[in-house]
Every structure is written in structure tokens, then in C-alpha cells.
Amino acid sequence: MHEFLRREIFFLRRPLNIWSRLLLLLAAGALVAAIFLPLWKIHLVAPQYAEGLSLDIYSHKLVGGNNGQDLHEINGLNHYIGMKTLSEADFVEMKWIPFALGVFILLTLRAVVFGRMANIIDLGVLFLYFTAFSLGNFYYRLYSYGHHLDPRAPMTIEPFTPVMIGSQKIANFIQTSLPQIGGYMLGIYIVLLFAALWLSRKEMP
């Protein structure tokens, strides 16, 4: 047991070499990109909407395709089934996520400067928590909007959860939900963290 704890402390004290620090810098860049690029896209296709209706979810805003017109169109269609209107103002997480990402960027830069394995472990654990929470929150939003349908709506359908990743059929629409470049940037961040860790795993404190 003592041996394990001693090796654990030794590991956490390992310094980060220049390559790891560079990868961490790239990782910070990936987060900057994630603030500004779309994280996720929801796409709806039906025979009479062959070109599709799309919604781009950013860390700080919700943008409908076709110059924003798609958002109006989707809300117009949703009102038939009693789904609540999608409005950026209702998504308070869009005020917090850019702030949270900003904190992670600072912490990553701190790791570049302080240069210890422990910093990466901190970042990794916190970021995985953040990601899990965000995905959980996203799922909760999808569940909530699809389940709390207005009982007075003209058309009654079984409550449903719009799919979070992948495709499903809803009435005459095929809904597809996939991460976008910003979302991939969040994944790349984790990969870069791990790569930075790996490259310095044998460095001597």
C-alpha cells in the first residue's frame, strides 16, 4: 500500500516536458474554438422539407439555419404538438458554459506554466465532470421539451425524447442529432490532455 501511494505521489510530481506543454497549449486553443464554433446540430428532414431544417447549438447561442428562419419554422411546427417554443433566453446554461470554458482555458494555461502531472490530473477530472454534467443537462433538456407537451395542443402524440446522438423518426420527420466541430473540439481537448500526460509519464521530478 505504502509503495503504491509513494509511486502515486512520485507520479503526480513528474514535470511536464516541452512537448506536453505544447499539447496543453493546443488543448487550450481547442477550448477557445469550442466557445465560438457550433457544438451540436439538430437536423430535421421530411418529404416536404427535403432541404431540411437545422438548428446549430453553440456554447452561447441557438441559431436556426437558412438565416435563422429554420428556428421559426421548427417552432411553428412544434406548436402543433404542444412543444414549448425554443428560445435562447430559456437556456440559462448558455450564459454559464462560455464562462466555464473560460475557466478551463485559464486552468489549462496554468498547467502549461506550473508544469506538473498533477495539474493534468486536476484538469482531466474536472473537465470530465463538466462534460458529463453538460451532456446530462442536454439530455435533460431534450427529455423535458419532449415530455412536457401542452395537453391542449391540436395534435396529441406520445411524449418522446428527441435523440441526442443519431437519428430517429418523429411523425413525418427524421431527426438527426450529431456533434459539430465545436463538440469535437471538446473531445480533442480530452485526447490532448491524455497525450500530454503520456508524453511526460517518464519525466523525472
Partner: protein, 632 residues
């Protein structure tokens, strides 16, 4: 460095991400490929989901409208209302279109003319004439709607010889079929036709920025019946030509009296000189427009004798050869513009008529092509051939344009290359872009006057026949036969990709002073006897869906369709008030009604819009006038 060995796993990871990012959501289909075949059926078949190659804009004749079809399928796609109300698209019921129509509910549309830039179609406007009430309309091809009607044109009656567009849409040229005493409204006995009546050639000026039409100039002519015209290009750019019948200046039983002379006097007009004359002030203002007397202002109008009661006159794509259909003589008279110009410059005249020089016929004529019985109109393929419609013989004749060899000149039968039967009695024909410098040369549409026996019987009233002919080969081939509403005269063909139509009126571009986009701005307001309602139409409700008024009120309703998606069209029809407007996405229309009867009048969306279209309705509640009982 031990980073070297880690690259492959990174690469695989990156590749996987790249593949995922390129994932296409379902619903996007790959484009299909069309097979090719010599079979006529397959060449006119446009598979479901695919589109035609060309627009075919038919004149609607005395229906007062323009029909839009596609080539090669020949399918009718839509009707553009111009001179007659059309409740299907709400034309003629809202204030803007009611004002355009004025006091008339019909018109006679004969010759559509597409706008041109540099001698080729630019896809911006389509101009059409109203031969009955003397008007010209401009259809904007951005949204396929009639946007301006000018007329009745002063000093003119029966502008049949319209609408011929100059090479850069400087003017739409117009000439009268009917001569009347001038100024219009003056009475004179038709017995004194030759002395008291006059015809008119007019240049309708088109503003380059937005197509607005105004009268540029008019040229006073003797009371000949101007028939068809053609604008010059290339060497003849700046000139225009018209045929006439009734040089005899007869006024009764024209069938006999207007067909006596061997030749009628066609018009050769230097319209640039006419434009200059207006600038120089060598005009007289009659009926509020600048009029040129060609006897007093020479160099603008010349007469050209053409056999015999000629009908169509068409300038070939090079601008040099001018073909006139002889109608009562079985020939197409082909004139050489170089010879015409030389005759004018050398004053090679055969006398004059009322001060207008008559160009010597023999000096201007290149040859008379013996095409057959009843030659009317000629169109071109851009490969040196002319195609003339023969009404009496019921064929289209293909013939070679000059230059002709000596052998051909000795016997011009040799230049008649092919004839194809049409069913029956063809009037106009059209080939793609024939009146430009670059005809398309592939399709010809024959517009026939008699369709008897060619379709299921629909009773005594007959539709018109329209036949699609392939002109790409040496011999013409009949491809398809379609039937149209009465009654196309001329038509225009334009490549689909030259036209750029919108399908939604963008909200940002809305200039209507009473458009409403937000439910908060809607409502009903009373000011004395005037009730003004601002209404939104959206799937699937009107906001508000209740309008209160009183007998004796003037009710004004502004309705905005706030949709911004293609084909989300709403209508607003009010029961028993004789009003139906149709509002396209992003459009706003104004209805004005005088309320004369009390009661509750339901209104509803007339144009199918959504699954809940049936639920889209409202009530116009009209109280009886104050002091009267509630129940009659």
C-alpha cells in the same frame, strides 16, 4: 523521441473523427441521371422531381392573362394574371391590383416580349400588350407578378403591333391596329376614315433602374392597320419594322375592301432618330405626349411596300434579313437591311404617301421565298434557317436564309427545305430566343388555332392546340401535342437558368407601410366611419380573428403573411362580401370594403396552408347602423 511511435494511433483517431464529421444526415438524395433516347416520348418526358429546361411564356389572348409552361414537358405550370381578375391568386381584389386594372376587367394579350440586355434575354421582365384597351403591362420575373400597367395609351387604339423590345430594353415598341379620330374622344364619321382617322407608332420608354414605363414618343401615321413588328439588331439596331394591311384605308367590309391592293405599305422606323427628335423638341404635345409628324420631321419614318396584306415581320439573328409573311400571297418577302439603308441614303424612293417616302420595293427586296399558302410568322434557329407558319396549308415551312447562290436565286423553291404538318391552322410559332442575336435552335412550338378532333370532346368551346417540334435535325420532328386555354398568340421561350425568381418575400425587404410582423402590432382601430384592421396570417390562425364594424363603415384590412418558407401561402376570403385575397409568404395586401349589410360574416383562409387549415378562420361582426333594430 517516444512521440514518434504514438503518431499512428493519433492518425487513426483523427481519421475516425474526420469520417464522423462528414456523416450526412438521412434525407439528402443523390442526383439521378437521365437516360438518352431518340424516342419522342422520352425526349418530352420530365421525370417526377426533375424540372423542365426552358420556360414557355404564352400570351393568353382575350383571357387577359399570361400562361407559364415548361419545355420539353409542355406542362402548364402557372397562370400570371395581367388584365383580368384572378381569384386563384387573389389578383384584382386588393387595392394595389384593383388600381392597376382600372375600369377594365379584361384585356387581349397578343405578343409577349422578354427584356433584353446586349441583344439577349436578361430574364428581368416580360412585357405584354392589351390590344383591346390599349395598354401595356410589365411583369417582373423576380416574382412573376404584374407590376405596372400603362394606358390606355393616348392617341392610340388597338395596340396589336406590340410589344417589341429593343436590344437593351430602351423601349417597348407599339403600333395600332385600329385608327381612330385624334385626339381620342373626338367624333368623326367612319365614312371619313381616310381623312379623319390616324394610326400611331409609339415608343414606350423603359426606365433602366426599375423597368417603369412611360410614353417616350409617338409617330403619327395614316390610317393603316399596323399588324406586327420587329426590332432590328446588329446592322439594323436602332430601327424597327412593321407590316400593315389596309393601305386601302377602307373602313367597312375589310375582308374585301382591305385586300384589294397587291402590296401594303410597311413601316421602317428609325427609333433612335425619333428619340432624338423628342430631345430636340421637334414634336407636338398631343394628348399629353410628344408626337412626331413624319412629314414635318423627316428621317424617322419610311414606307416599304410588302405583298400582300402581310402579317408577321421578323428580323433574323444577324439583323440583316427581314422576313415578312405574305398572308394572302404564298411567299415570304425577304428584305436586305443593307439595301434598305442604301435606298434611304440614296433617296431611292418610289414617291411618297402624305409626305413619307416610299422605299422602292425592288431595291430593298432580296427575294420572295415560295413557302406555301397563308404565310404568317417567321422564327429562326440561329443556323441560317427560317421557319414560317402557314395558316391555310396548316404546316410549318423551313427555308434557308440568304445569302443564296445564283442557282438558288433562279429558283427559290430550292431554299424551301422541309414542311411539317401541324394540327390545325397555325397562327404564331416560336423558337427559343428567336428575336435575340443568339437563338437556342432546338425547340419550336406551333400554336394552332383549331384543335378540333385532337382531344377529348369538351363541347362546343374548344381549347387551343400547342405542338412541340424538334428542329435540331435536317428534318423537323413532331414531339408532343398539348392543349391550352384560349388563346395564345405569340409566346417567348427562355432558358430556365436565365430567370431568377424568389419564392418568399424576405421580411427585411418589406416596404409596405402597413405590414405587421408581430402579434403586438395587430388590431382593429376605428376613426370615425373608417375601421382599419392590421392582421397577421400564420399557420394556422389569423391574429386577430375577430373584426368589429358597423353598417356604413369603410373597412380597410391590411393582412401580412409572416411566413418565410416557400409555398406557405394563405388566403383571406370573406363570406358574402365578394372578396378573396391570396397572400404569399412575406407579402402584405390591403382590402377596402364598404359595409352595407349587417350580420356576422365569417372569413377564412382560402389557400390550403397546413394540417389545421380548416381551423384558420375568423368573424367579421357588422352591427346595424345606429338607431336601427338589430333584426331586419
Amino acid at each position: 523521441m517516444n512521440t514518434h511511435k504514438r503518431i499512428p494511433s493519433f492518425a487513426i483517431g483523427a481519421l475516425a473523427l474526420a469520417v464522423l464529421a462528414g456523416c450526412n444526415p438521412p434525407g439528402q438524395k443523390a442526383s439521378s441521371s437521365k437516360g438518352s433516347s431518340d424516342n419522342a416520348a422520352s425526349r418530352t418526358f420530365v421525370p417526377p422531381g426533375e424540372k423542365d429546361k426552358y420556360y414557355l411564356f404564352y400570351s393568353g389572348g382575350h383571357s387577359g392573362q399570361v400562361y407559364v409552361a415548361g419545355i420539353p414537358s409542355m406542362r402548364h405550370i402557372s397562370t400570371i394574371p395581367v388584365f383580368a381578375p384572378y381569384p386563384a391568386t387573389g389578383y384584382g381584389f386588393d387595392e394595389e391590383t384593383k388600381e392597376m386594372l382600372g375600369e377594365y376587367t379584361w384585356g387581349d394579350v397578343h405578343h409577349p416580349g422578354l427584356s433584353k440586355t446586349g441583344g439577349v434575354y436578361d430574364g428581368k421582365y416580360l412585357f405584354v400588350n392589351d390590344a383591346a384597351n390599349n395598354r401595356v403591362a410589365r411583369i417582373d420575373l423576380r416574382d412573376f407578378k404584374t407590376r405596372q400597367i400603362i394606358g390606355p395609351i393616348p392617341n392610340s387604339s388597338g395596340n396589336h403591333g406590340s410589344s417589341f423590345v429593343t436590344d437593351n430594353t430602351e423601349y417597348v415598341l407599339v403600333a395600332t391596329r385600329f385608327s381612330v379620330p385624334l385626339p381620342k374622344g373626338r367624333y368623326a364619321d367612319p365614312k371619313d376614315y381616310a381623312k379623319e382617322f390616324n394610326g400611331m407608332v409609339s415608343g414606350i420608354k423603359v426606365a433602366p433602374k426599375d423597368g417603369t414605363m412611360s410614353i417616350g414618343w409617338q409617330i403619327l401615321t395614316p390610317p393603316f392597320d399596323w399588324d406586327l413588328g420587329s426590332t432590328g439588331k446588329g446592322p439594323s439596331e436602332g430601327w424597327a419594322f412593321w407590316t400593315s394591311y389596309n393601305t386601302e384605308m377602307a373602313h367597312e367590309t375589310l375582308e374585301a375592301t382591305a385586300t384589294q391592293a397587291e402590296r401594303d405599305l410597311g413601316a421602317v422606323v428609325n427609333w433612335r432618330a425619333a428619340e432624338q427628335a423628342v430631345k430636340d423638341g421637334r414634336v407636338e404635345m398631343i394628348g399629353g405626349v410628344p408626337m412626331i409628324d413624319p412629314a414635318k420631321t423627316p428621317g424617322i419614318l419610311y414606307f416599304l411596300p410588302i405583298p400582300k396584306s402581310p402579317h408577321g415581320i421578323d428580323t433574323d439573328p444577324s439583323g440583316r434579313w427581314i422576313a415578312a409573311g405574305g398572308k394572302l400571297q404564298p411567299v415570304v418577302s425577304v428584305f436586305d437591311f443593307h439595301k434598305i439603308k442604301a435606298a434611304i441614303d440614296n433617296k431611292d424612293f418610289d414617291g411618297d404617301f402624305r409626305g413619307v417616302p416610299i422605299i422602292r420595293y425592288e431595291s430593298a427586296l432580296e427575294g420572295s421565298v415560295p413557302v406555301g399558302l397563308g404565310p404568317l410568322h417567321t422564327q429562326f434557329d440561329g443556323r441560317g434557317n427560317g421557319y414560317t407558319s402557314l395558316f391555310i396549308e396548316s404546316v410549318v415551312a423551313k427555308w434557308k436564309l440568304p445569302p443564296w447562290s445564283d442557282e438558288e436565286k433562279a429558283d427559290l423553291n430550292k431554299v424551301v427545305l422541309d414542311k411539317i404538318d401541324v394540327h390545325y391552322n397555325i397562327g404564331h410559332l416560336v423558337t427559343g430566343a428567336s428575336d435575340t442575336t443568339k437563338p437556342y435552335g432546338d425547340y419550336l412550338v406551333a400554336m394552332n388555332k383549331l384543335s378540333k378532333g385532337r382531344h377529348l370532346s369538351v363541347g362546343p368551346s374548344q381549347p387551343e392546340s400547342s405542338q412541340l417540334i424538334d428542329i435540331t435535325g435536317e428534318k423537323m420532328t413532331m414531339l408532343y401535342e398539348a392543349f391550352t386555354e384560349p388563346e395564345p398568340h405569340f409566346a417567348q421561350i427562355i432558358r430556365a437558368d436565365t430567370v431568377n425568381a424568389i419564392e418568399v418575400y424576405p421580411r427585411d425587404e418589406s416596404k409596405h407601410p402597413h405590414a405587421v410582423w408581430d402579434a403586438k402590432e395587430t388590431g382593429v382601430v376605428r376613426e370615425g366611419n373608417r375601421v382599419e384592421a392590421k392582421v397577421i396570417a400564420i399557420r394556422s390562425r389569423f391574429i386577430p380573428d375577430r373584426i368589429d364594424a358597423q353598417v356604413g363603415d369603410e373597412l380597410v384590412i391590411h393582412v401580412t403573411n409572416i411566413e418565410q418558407t416557400t409555398d406557405m401561402i394563405h388566403g383571406l376570403g370573406i363570406a358574402e362580401q365578394n372578396v378573396n385575397v391570396v397572400i404569399d409568404p412575406g407579402e402584405t395586401k390591403t382590402i377596402r370594403l364598404k359595409l352595407t349589410k349587417p350580420g356576422v360574416f365569417p372569413f377564412y383562409c382560402t389557400n390550403f396552408c397546413s394540417a389545421l387549415h380548416q381551423e384558420m378562420q375568423g368573424y367579421l361582426a357588422v352591427k346595424p347602423a345606429e338607431g336601427l333594430a338589430a333584426n331586419p
